[in-house]
Amino acid sequence: MVSHSLALPMICFTTLWALVGIVAPFFVPKGPNRGVVITSLILTAVCCWLFWLIAILAQANPLFGPQLKNETIWYLRYFWE
């Protein structure tokens, strides 16, 4: 088992998608496609961030654990940890 933190990935990925969705639109060059590109960036950031967030929240407080075969358990005990 590796102990992660919850705060670190939260901050990391939220800033990443905030960069994509909030900061990057200011740097889109002027042209006929500016509006479309900005919309696409914002939508991408929202969708991808939401998807990641759902995945991490769903595992944050598990109600049950994985069921493993005894061979797998043996292997994990001696090789993964």
Partner: protein
């Protein structure tokens, strides 16, 4: 800038130009591709139009050009030449055949004569002159020929025949024959017989020397003829290739002419026959370029009068024009396939550019397959022209959608990384959050004995240390990939994810409808339709999303965790009697409040708008009544008509609003459930890919003997073929279809009317790409 979010503003313009410059002006406009000609004679049939003869002539030329590939050409001169060449060639061929036959004949009859002279003369010694007839006859006719000869001459003849070995220039089997008979008159009979059988007779000299001479002669002539034939063939080929080079040009010209005459048919010709009046729809931002094109066209004919453009205001609905580039046209096409947007309503295409590939990726979710799809798309993009040249319909469809496929692939890689699924295997980049060691003594309940005694064991997150307390930072924990109850966890996760994504998508759609109301200055509808719709959806399905997120964030003991579905159902029935625990303390009053609010929204949506309109109508009736009294009975007639019409309208409006309310409210529930297909398809994809791994590739990888490498090569080939056909093609198409349906129905019915008509300008570029004329 704004143009892709809404369709462009269009204006109706009247054009006046001279008849002489008409052709050139329309030519220029066609190259510009920005104007749509309105039909000024909507009632007339095709054959009644003014330029119908010219259109027919163009069609005739088109037909001829299509057959050009075989033997007929367009210009008369060329046609004559080709005809001459062809007939010459046929005569030469005929001569050549004849000469060949003579050659064979001479060759074969040599043997006969030798045999005849050397052999027995018993039968023929008695008489006189024996004459002979030599010729060539078709092989299948020979037996009949022989039979009739027998009947004619009662056996008083000698017939010799030999087959001509098939030569490369002929394709019929022929026989050479020589008939020896007595007497001279019989020759006439034989000649008639030969004519009847279509056998060709040739003069054949008696003695060997003459025959030899004849043979050398014939050979010489054959050589000459061969040479001439070759030359004729070459000449014919060169003429045809020269014509073919121009063929494409001519076809293009004819197509353009036909389009121009068709357009002229739509215009009005002035009485003096000097002026043509046309009405066009054209984007407001392009008025100047249209004007420039017209000036250019009229300059080309050298006319002094420039065409006049006169913008007119009209109540008719203009066509919907969305300016697209090569990237956005694919997405605009899939939106238009369901329904072209109303004039200037919000265009879903820019949002679809991201949400459609994203929803596809949620259902496809495998980074290995996503990578393959991205590579395919890059290949299609780089070799676009090469693929278009193949002129295959399926390939054309793939190529038109290459940017869609690219985006689908890229998003699929992302969702595949989150699902932690790459050809059904997971990555362990950060280290799993689950620990097996802590389940054993001294922290946990297991001993080595428990391990030996049971086939499988389940980790318990309540034992300290088993679950690290913090989730895997990016995606699904790799431990789930090797767990036996993987689906139990993934199903719950994916179903809730689908509901959340669905509710967010639909809320987005409802917000877009607000954009439409504001643009069309329809502030009444904001209060009468938008607000009740939004509140209804938020209070019920927004709350459901909140429950899901809350349950995920809060720590609960597994046996006391309430099921969200049951919570939701009980909320709707106001059933708080069951002792299922609540998620949070004030849950009961909050839920009651939300359901009551949602319940109030329904009659608001159903009755507010029609009642308001009824009141307005009554007020205006009152005003009309007053005006009528003041102005006398002028408006009497109109008032009565109006009253009848308005009564109908009231009923209509109530019915319409009722349908809309039911559709929206029931639709909220059914559409939210419909988003569960995101879960269903991603489950199917993951299972299929797992089957391919377990039952195909793993079987070969487990073989330990030497033959394993050969087996692995064969098995990998099978694995690759199955992956591409089942997982990429079939699942890809399926996910594409379902993502498209989610957009067309669940997303767009919140805001899109889609009852406009598309702007179809006269454009020669478009004509030549699609290969058909503008209709």
């Amino acid at each position: 800038m704004d143009s892709f979010f809404r369709s462009e503003e269009m204006c109706l313009v009247q054009l006046f130009f001279q008849t002489e410059s008409a052709h050139n002006c329309i030519d220029e406009l066609g190259h510009l591709g920005l104007v749509q000609f309105k039909d000024l004679h909507p009632g007339t049939a095709d054959f009644q139009r003014r330029f119908v003869k010219e259109v027919k002539k163009c069609e005739e030329m088109e037909r001829i050009l299509r057959k050009q590939l075989y033997f007929v050409t367009f210009f008369d001169k060329l046609e004559q030449e080709l005809k001459e060449i062809n007939s010459n060639r046929d005569t030469l061929r005929q001569n050549f055949t004849q000469l060949t036959e003579i050659n064979h004949l001479l060759h074969m009859t040599d043997d006969f004569f030798v045999e005849g002279e050397a052999g027995s003369t018993i039968e023929m010694s008695s008489s006189s002159v024996h004459s002979f007839v030599a010729g060539v006859i078709k092989h299948e006719r020979f037996p009949a020929f022989e039979k009739i000869l027998w009947r004619l001459f009662h056996g008083n003849f000698v017939l010799r025949h030999a087959e001509i070995k098939p030569h490369q220039e002929e394709n019929m089997e022929k026989d050479v024959f020589v008939v020896f008979v007595q007497g001279d008159q019989v020759r006439g009979k034989i000649r008639k017989l030969c004519d009847g059988f279509h056998a060709s007779m040739y003069p054949c000299p008696n003695n060997a020397a003459a025959r030899k001479e004849m043979r050398t002669n014939v050979n010489m002539r054959m050589e000459d003829l061969r040479l001439v034939l070759k030359r004729t063939e070459e000449f014919r080929v060169t003429t045809l290739t020269a014509a073919a080079a121009n063929l494409r040009e001519w076809t293009a010209k004819v197509k353009k002419m036909k389009a121009i005459y068709y357009t002229l048919n739509l215009c009005n010709i002035d009485i003096t026959q000097k002026l043509i009046i046309a009405e066009i729809w054209c984007p407001v931002s392009d008025l100047s370029s249209v004007h420039a094109a017209l000036i250019k066209g009229s300059e080309q004919t050298g006319s002094s009068v420039t065409p006049i453009m006169n913008r007119i205001h009209t109540q008719q609905t203009p066509p919907t024009f969305n300016r697209t580039n090569v990237f956005t046209s694919g997405f605009q096409n899939i939106i238009d396939a369901y329904g072209v947007g109303d004039y200037q309503e919000i265009n879903p295409a820019p949002y679809t550019m991201v949400t459609f590939p994203f929803l596809f990726a949620v259902m496809f979710g495998d980074c290995g397959h996503g990578l393959l799809m991205t590579l395919l798309a890059v290949w299609l993009i780089l070799h676009e022209e090469h693929f278009r040249k193949l002129k295959n319909e399926l390939v054309d469809m793939l190529v038109s959608g290459r940017y869609i496929i690219l985006l689908m692939g890229i998003y699929s890689i992302y969702t595949g990384l989150i699902y932690n699924d790459c050809f059904s295997k997971s990555f362990n980049l950060f280290g799993s959050s689950w620990s097996v060691r802590h389940m054993f003594h001294p922290q946990g309940p297991w001993t080595n004995e428990t391990l030996h005694n049971s086939d499988y064991l389940q980790l318990d997150p309540l034992v300290s240390g088993v679950y690290s307390g913090n989730p895997y930072p990016f995606g699904i924990d790799p431990m789930w990939n090797i767990a036996l109850n993987k689906l139990l966890f993934l199903n719950s996760y994916k179903m809730k994810m689908s509901v959340i994504i669905g509710v967010v998508h639909m809320l987005f759609g409802v917000m877009l409808s607000l954009g439409n109301y504001i643009f069309f200055r329809n502030f009444k509808d904001v209060v009468l339709k938008f607000i009740p719709e939004l509140v209804f959806m938020l209070s019920l399905f927004g709350y459901l999303t909140f429950l899901i997120l809350y349950k995920w964030c809060v720590v609960i003991k597994s046996d006391s965790a309430p099921s969200i579905l049951l919570l939701f159902i009980n909320m709707m029935f106001f059933d708080y009697s069951s002792n299922g625990a609540m998620l949070y303390k004030t849950q009961k009053p909050v839920q009651i409040f939300l359901v009551v609010v949602a319940g109030v929204m329904v009659p608001w949506l159903l009755f507010a708008k029609p009642l308001l309109m009824y009141r307005e109508h009554k007020q205006s009736k009152l005003v009309n009544h007053l005006i009528r009294i003041i102005k006398g009975t002028l408006l009497q007639q109109k008032y009565q008509n109006d009253k009848g019409v308005c009564m109908e309208n009231m009923g209509d409006i109530f019915v319409y609003q009722g349908i809309h309310t039911i559709e929206y409210c029931l639709g909220c529930i059914s559409n939210t459930a419909s988003y569960l297909r995101l879960w269903a398809l991603s489950l199917a994809h993951a299972e299929l890919s797992e089957v391919l791994w377990k039952m195909v590739l793993q079987v070969a990888l487990r073989v330990t003997s030497g033959m394993g490498s050969v087996l692995l090569a064969v098995t990998f080939a099978t694995f690759a073929v199955l992956t591409v056909t089942i997982l990429l093609v079939m699942e890809g198409l399926s996910a594409f279809l379902h993502a498209l349906r989610l957009h067309w129905v669940e997303f767009q019915n919140k805001f899109y009317q889609g009852s406009g008509y598309k702007f179809s300008p006269l454009s020669f570029d478009k004509m030549f790409i699609t290969g058909t004329t503008e209709e």
